[in-house]
Amino acid sequence: MNTQSTFEFRWLSPLGISVSLFLMQGVLTVFVAVLVLVINQRIMERRVDYADGGILLSGRMDSLFFGRDLRELIRSDPLLVQVDMYTMYVRAGLWLAFGIFQMALIWFGMRNGEEWAFWTVVLANVAALIGWLLVVIPFVQKGVLLGLDMPPIVFLLPIVVVPVASVLGWIGLP
C-alpha cells in the first residue's frame, strides 16, 4: 500500500468533516452497544415500559403495524420480548464490533487519505442500512406512517450521516 506522503489532513476540509461525522457515528454506536449490555435486562423486566421503545421501530409504529397496542401484544405473547432481548444482544455485539472497526478505519485509514478505508466504511454502512430497509419495507407496505421515532443512533443517525459524510469524503479524498 503506498503512503500518500504529500497528503496533509485538515479537520476543516470536506474530508475532515467526513472523518468527524463518521467518527462521531462510530463512537455513538459503541456507546449504544455498551448501554445495551448494561440496561437491556432491566428494560426487559419492565415490559410495560418496553412497549414505549417498541420492538422493531417504535412503540407507536409497531402498534400500527401489528394492528393492536404493543403493550397488549406483549402481555398476550411474552415470548416476543424474550426473542427481542436475545437478538438485541446479538445486534449490540455486532454494533460494538462495527463501531470499533469504523473508528479504526477512520482514524488510521481515512485520515491518511486512504480510499479503501473510505469505501469500506461506506459499504459497511450501506450493508447495515439494507438490513434496516428490510424491516421498514413491510411497515410502508402496510401503510404505517414512518416518523422520527425510530432507533436514533443505529438507524436515524446513519440515514443522515452516511450520505453526507460519504459525499464529503468522496469530494475530499485525494
Binding site: A33, L37, D77, L80, W116, T120, G131
Partner: protein, 167 residues
C-alpha cells in the same frame, strides 16, 4: 499512514496464516449475513433461532415451528430482527475482510488490534444470549449459531499468528 516495515508478504508465514484465517472469518460473516434473509424462511431455518432445534424449544417453551405458526407477530418480529442481524453480519464481514487485506496484510499493527478487539468485545454479548440456556440447565455445547462458532474458533489462532508475524 506508514507501513511499520517494508515487509515482503508471504502466505506461508505467521502473518500470512493470520491474514488467511481472518479473511475466512470475514467471508463467513458475509456469507451467513447474505443468506440470512433467505435461509430463515426455509424448513431448516424455521427450526432454529439461537442454538439447536431441541435446545431452542426447551428454552422457548415449544418447537419453534409451532410457535411461529401460532403467533404471527412472533414470526414477523423474528424475521425482521434476523434481517437486521443479516445486514450487520454482512457489514461486519466487509469490515473484517478489508481491514485484513489492506491493513493486516500490510503489517499494520492497528489492523490486528482492531480485528482482535472487535472479535473479543462481542463475547460478553454472546454469553448473555446463552446465559438463559445455562440458567435453564441446558448445555449449549457446540450448538452455537455458525456466525459465533466459526469466528470463535478462528479468532485466537488468527490473532496469535498475526502477533507473531508482526513482531
Amino acid at each position: 499512514m506508514t507501513s511499520q516495515l517494508m515487509l515482503e508478504f508471504r502466505w506461508l508465514s505467521p502473518l500470512g496464516i493470520s491474514v488467511a484465517l481472518f479473511m475466512i472469518y470475514g467471508a463467513f460473516y458475509v456469507l451467513i449475513g447474505a443468506l440470512t434473509p433467505v435461509m430463515m424462511n426455509t424448513q431448516i431455518g424455521q427450526q432454529v433461532t439461537f442454538s439447536s432445534s431441541k435446545k431452542d424449544s426447551v428454552l422457548l417453551g415449544g418447537p419453534l415451528t409451532e410457535l411461529l405458526q401460532t403467533s404471527p407477530a412472533l414470526a414477523k418480529i423474528r424475521r425482521m430482527l434476523l434481517n437486521v442481524i443479516g445486514g450487520l453480519l454482512v457489514a461486519a464481514g466487509i469490515l473484517v475482510m478489508t481491514v485484513t487485506w489492506f491493513g493486516l496484510k500490510q503489517a499494520q499493527v492497528w489492523a490486528l488490534v482492531a480485528l482482535a478487539l472487535a472479535g473479543v468485545v462481542v463475547l460478553p454479548f454472546w454469553w448473555l444470549v446463552f446465559r438463559p440456556f445455562a440458567e435453564a440447565g441446558i448445555a449449549v455445547g457446540l450448538d452455537l449459531p455458525p456466525f459465533m462458532l466459526l469466528p470463535g474458533i478462528l479468532l485466537a489462532p488468527a490473532t496469535v499468528f498475526g502477533w507473531i508475524g508482526l513482531r
